[in-house]
Subunit: 590 residues, 2 copies
């Protein structure tokens, strides 16, 4: 290498310099295991989110006091070793005035290998950490079989008996002589991603899917369904979409991809398989699950069960009188497949959130006479303005590699996401002003979401409750889809429905777009009260800043919840798998 | 951003500085369109490989004189504009003494967007280019629909008729009312990759696959087959393998992946479809192809045809007497599926290259009594030592992103690959010394490949002719697989075969591992002499440093050859697709 000395330039301090300097200080503070030395490096209104690395739990801590408490309980000498900057991406300045430095770190813990994301800001003339996220990335001794840990491949020379890879795969999924370590209920994105992670960690997982094909959860949805989240946020882990994929993916395309994913990731799936009975033996730590399959009844004995039937798995059907007298057709929105039978007929859609709007639009385009019933109000955003605002620059064309976009996303605790959302909601509403005004002009009622947090507030609390406009709002504003506003469904009549305020609507078809019940109700239906009564409700941001139920210990020693949109499951399936793997390996911290 | 002046360090010249300085000089030289000013920046023994960007052909030019001639004919003002360093990867030093600087560039040409790879070395105190590769990456106006050019996705609100994405895909592959622009014969890696690129460029391609499923070309191979090339070299374009995939991939796994690829890339494939007749109308520029399908006979009229049936598509079966008298079973190696029928029987495998060894091993492990007939000599390398030597650090765990590894690979002209191969062959042979000695001890004859260039020499010339040891050599050295050396198959007898030197071998099974004929013979069989007589032979490195026939104009205006291993087709399918797209769009340079 040549060594020459050019004229010394006027140097500017780079994002790397800033980050490395702060990290040096953090390294020194950590070595003392003194919480107050660490919190001295944080902003007053700091956020520390730990995903298993320090606390062996998912938790968000706000402010130096709460962080100090957490570190006091969990930070010992050696809790975080070999702390290094990850230079594969960043550090980088962010913000119009470069007021934030974002950087990523790797480190070692007693249990395994960690990663983190840090955002630095200036406070009183010094760079301090505004947000810190520390996560466990792999368990030592159980590292995911990827990259340097990937398998070399089957022996080219099969042993006696001559089994090849395909023979081994078939034997593996047959479970003729063995039991799976984990049974996962549901081959949607939740089930597929946790099973993929478990397999990579060496844990044998069997997915039970009640439909005929992996992906049917999407395939069987209504004809015109397209994903609402943009492609850059939606990769499944370990298998990104081709760069040719459309921004918004049609249901059948994603369904086929799920099927390919299960194959490419060598997941064990039984399709047309339904669990019909279950019991848990606390003494042996094993479940006994009875499964009906096309080949007959099977019994399996996993150590853990993951419920991944989906946040939209348990239809909420209003228990109103008169349904048996109604002469037309009625069903919950989850059963809506095709609108083609309803050309020229009267359709009433009860419920004005995403399913209600999509199905009303589907029916209108098929030639039906459609009325949408809105009981109270709906949060509306246009896809064009609202989605980029929610996903931001990290999940857009040319954004950071998904691995780093995800570290930044998980490095933004849910309560902070909700704080940011308020401004985003206002900005989007301003851009959508004409659309919203046209809706209000026909009597449609709008809201800004829980405490003005819009879609994210609804998504975190309930999983639904909003509408991302992809055309139905215009049809409503133009009166092409009629609106019955201000009252909910009270009863069915022979010719249609009656609302609570007495108005009647004639209908040949009534679609109940009335949402879904909490996943705990699915647990109750499938596993009984004994199990369900030990479980929390799913969703809702709790006192600890984390979502209820999902991705972590539930209170039942061998039952776990998994679910959420693609952007969440890609991230948190790993953390759930880590906890199950550690539990089964007997290495969970006390 | 803060601005502070640290103490000025002793600066070293980085790879970036070196590369940028040379690129500045190149930019200045190009602006003059003076070939001699450009060649002044090149090493005396330089290499310039152009893939369509300057010459609208694939060509390798060695030495400043040849490069000057090429530039003189093709370099005008504006031939290369907006030349920039691609900083996404590199520039970087290479070599034990940092004696090489590798860098990548982007540029614009009259026809489209270009990319390049450059290797600089020091000559007479100055950095000069040892290798330059310039390629066309996209056609202006026909850019591949990836990244910023990806589709937004189907309208969420389908128009009248209500077709969704799946409806459109089904209509597209039916060709009920339209013709494909291109027909591709064969859904192996060659066919799939060129069709994927064509589709992304907006050209409608239909693949005809004679087997029942995409991937059957691998699926139907013998039981124990595993890929010989390592995973890092084998991605299909636009859809890399998950990082969990084994280093050497089993045949069924790659077969399933091909099927998923066709789906994910939205390729139009007719399976169980065979072309039965063809004719070309020079006046209209259209083919008329008759295709037999399960639903009956179809006729299609593409403008171009791509033969992608594989370099191993046309079995070479020796025409020797007596086969009708032979009482046992005989077939070409391409028909070997399973060895399980031959336990306890006598099997003779004629031919000692890869297929011969693999099948001999397959039969031995199934319990057959196996004799391998080696007529002359074989080039042998161990997979353990030989494969990493061939693929190098660019196609290994932790290597550069595939995009850049490929630019470096295509930036190493075939004649230079062959020069490098000689040293690699010696080094591998030294590491394999014990294995090779053990083979020679039982009379097996070894060679170093054409002019000592080993596997690469054979691969570039013939597509085969070597054996990558994954266990058979040890069986031969130990006498478990018997060896008949020094003479080839002369005739069949009722009880077996007779070699040219008179020796007879008894056999219940004779497998003719006698290789494959040139792909031109497939063209002749399928399209007739009129077409085949206009075509070159496939493979062999020609005077122009490029492979015969593949990836470019053949001499027939509407016929193209596609094929090769995964590592080649991923790269060159793009160049082939660019030429077909430009031809059909009427924008090929004169």
């Amino acid at each position: 290498m040549s060594t020459e000395t050019p004229d010394a330039p006027t140097a500017t301090v780079t994002a790397s310099d800033t980050f490395e300097a702060w990290l040096d200080d953090l390294r020194a503070a950590l070595s003392t295991a003194d919480a107050s030395r660490v919190t001295a490096l944080l902003a007053v209104d700091c956020w520390w989110r730990d995903l298993l690395a320090l606390t062996w739990d998912l938790g968000t801590y706000r402010g130096t006091e709460a962080v100090a408490d957490m570190l006091g309980a969990h930070l010992a000498a050696g809790s975080i070793r070999d702390l290094s900057t990850d230079t594969e991406f960043g550090p980088r300045f962010q913000g119009d005035d470069d007021e934030v430095v974002e950087g990523f770190v790797t480190f070692e813990t007693p249990l395994g290998h960690g990663r983190g994301a840090v955002r630095l800001v200036r406070e009183d003339g010094a760079w301090v950490a505004w947000t810190v996220m520390t996560e466990l990335d792999d368990l030592r001794g159980h590292e995911r079989a990827i990259d340097t840990h990937r398998s070399r491949g089957p022996r080219h020379s099969p042993g006696p008996g001559g089994g090849n890879w395909l023979d081994e795969r078939r034997a593996s999924v047959a479970y003729a002589e063995s039991d799976p370590d984990v049974v996962v209920l549901g081959a949607g994105q939740g089930g597929l991603t946790v099973a993929a992670n478990l397999r990579l960690m060496g844990v044998d997982a069997l997915i039970l899917e009640k439909s005929e094909r992996v992906g049917d959860g999407w395939r069987k949805r209504y004809h015109s369904l397209v994903l609402h989240d943009p492609v850059w946020a939606d990769d499944l882990p370990y298998l990104p979409y081709p760069s040719s994929w459309p921004v918004y993916c049609p249901k059948d395309k994603i369904a086929d991809w799920f099927e390919s994913y299960a194959s490419a990731m060598e997941l064990n799936v039984w399709t047309s398989a339904e669990m019909t009975d279950s019991s848990y033996d606390e003494a042996t730590g094993r479940w006994t699950l009875t499964v009906s399959t096309p080949e007959g009844e099977r019994v399996v004995h996993p150590r853990d069960v993951v419920l991944a039937t989906g946040a939209a798995g348990e239809p909420n059907v209003p228990d109103v009188p008169g349904r048996d007298t109604f002469r037309g057709t009625s069903y919950h929105s989850s059963r809506h497949a095709s609108a083609s039978d309803w050309a020229g007929k009267k359709a009433v859609v009860v419920g004005a959130c995403n399913s209600g709007h999509d199905i009303a639009q589907d029916l209108y385009l098929a030639g039906a006479d459609v009325t949408l019933v809105q009981r109270s109000s709906t949060h509306i955003i246009s896809q064009t303005h609202g989605i980029p605002a929610i996903f931001g620059a990290n999940f857009a064309e040319g954004g950071p590699p998904t691995k780093y976009a995800d570290l930044l996303a998980s490095g933004t605790p849910w309560p902070l996401v909700l704080e940011f959302a308020k401004d985003g909601v206002k900005q989007t509403a301003a851009k959508d002003a004409d659309l919203l005004a046209s809706l209000e002009a026909v009597g449609f009622k709008l809201n800004d979401g829980p405490d003005g947090t819009g879609l994210m507030g609804y998504a975190l609390a309930y999983g639904g409750g909003y509408y991302i406009d992809v055309g139905a709002s215009t049809l409503i504003a133009e009166g092409r889809i009629k609106l019955a506003q201000g009252s909910g469904l009270a009863e069915f009549t022979p010719d249609g429905i009656r609302l609570a305020d007495g108005r009647t609507l004639e209908a040949d078809l009534v679609v109940l777009a009335t949402g879904y019940r909490n996943m705990r109700e699915t647990a109750r239906r499938l596993f009984g009260d004994d199990v369900a009564d030990r479980l929390p409700l799913v969703l809702g941001v709790g006192e600890d800043g984390e979502l209820g139920g999902l991705y972590r210990r539930t209170g039942h020693p061998a039952f776990w919840y998994m679910g959420g949109p693609l952007a969440w499951v890609r991230i948190y399936s790993k953390h759930l798998a880590l906890q199950i793997t550690a539990k089964q390996a007997g290495i969970s911290p006390a």
